[in-house]
């Protein structure tokens, strides 16, 4: 089995990128691969807990919690999250907090990297 690292820079709402990345992560982990998920830029606003699941909007909290339960390592850029009002007290439990070197270290040990840009 391989290791896949996904770098996600897109916001939860605004494109299909976020939904795609989380679905891909789940498909990979279900097949037995090791998956790492890095949030930077607008994606770093997504690990906020207490999201209301309105049917007109993408919903990130439930699938993110599911991924963490399945063993996906999820880490957010601390500075990017803090700039968006997400901090350790209002963030989803199990999300790691670090900086860019976390992403580079995971890339170092990965067979495949999917870097999904933002904006």
């Amino acid at each position: 089995m391989g290791t896949l690292t996904i770098g996600l820079f897109s916001a939860l709402v605004g494109s299909m990128n976020y939904d795609f990345a989380l679905k891909l992560a789940e498909a990979a982990v279900d097949k037995g691969h090791k998956v790492n998920l890095w949030f930077s830029s607008n994606a770093a606003g997504s690990p906020l807990k207490g999201q209301k699941h309105l049917k007109d909007y993408s919903h990130g909290e439930t699938p993110l919690r599911k991924l963490i339960e399945k063993g996906v390592e999820v880490c957010t850029c601390e500075a990017c999250s803090l700039a968006r009002g997400v901090n350790k007290t209002n963030a989803i439990e199990g999300v790691q907090w670090s900086a860019m070197h976390w992403y580079l270290a995971k890339i170092h040990g990965s067979d495949r990297v999917l870097h999904i840009g933002g904006e």
Binding site: G7, F9, H101, W102, Y103, L104, H108, E119
Partner: protein, 136 residues
């Protein structure tokens, strides 16, 4: 023990876009990644500016004055200070009419490294040689 080569390609223009700055800061993180790696493992990044991205390399950026945020120029200077290889596409500079004396240097900070204006062919080779490509 392994070195992993990474190509960071920046094609977005500067100022209110966060993406080009993230290209520089992610590349710069090679300085601290070793604390998370096994002994002897390393990451070698090359940061490349292409297309509209070459506008990030102009000196005299006023992002702080206009938007109250750090400019890409500051990040580029920091990249040079930590000896990162930074390539700027020669053809794209020419397309914008930008001369080499208009691009950023970090001499005022004591950096020996300079931005390297290279033909697109060199950037293509860098991408081919990299294990992973990160597109900003």
């Amino acid at each position: 023990m392994a070195d992993v080569k990474l190509a960071f390609i920046v094609s977005k223009p500067p100022y209110k876009s966060e993406v080009p700055k993230l290209g520089a800061t992610h590349a710069m993180a090679y300085q601290t990644v070793e604390i998370l790696l096994e002994e002897g493992d390393t990451v070698t990044p090359v940061l490349c500016y292409v297309g509209d991205g070459v506008l990030n390399c102009l000196k005299g950026q006023k992002a702080m004055d206009i938007y109250g945020i750090t400019s890409t120029e500051t990040h580029l200077k920091n990249c040079l200070l930590v000896d990162l290889d930074v390539y700027v596409c020669k053809e794209d500079l020419e397309n914008f009419g930008i001369q080499e004396d208009q691009i950023v240097d970090a001499e005022d900070m004591g950096a020996e490294k300079k931005l390297q204006v290279v033909p697109f062919e060199t950037i293509k080779k860098t991408v081919e040689e990299a294990k992973h490509v990160l597109y900003f």
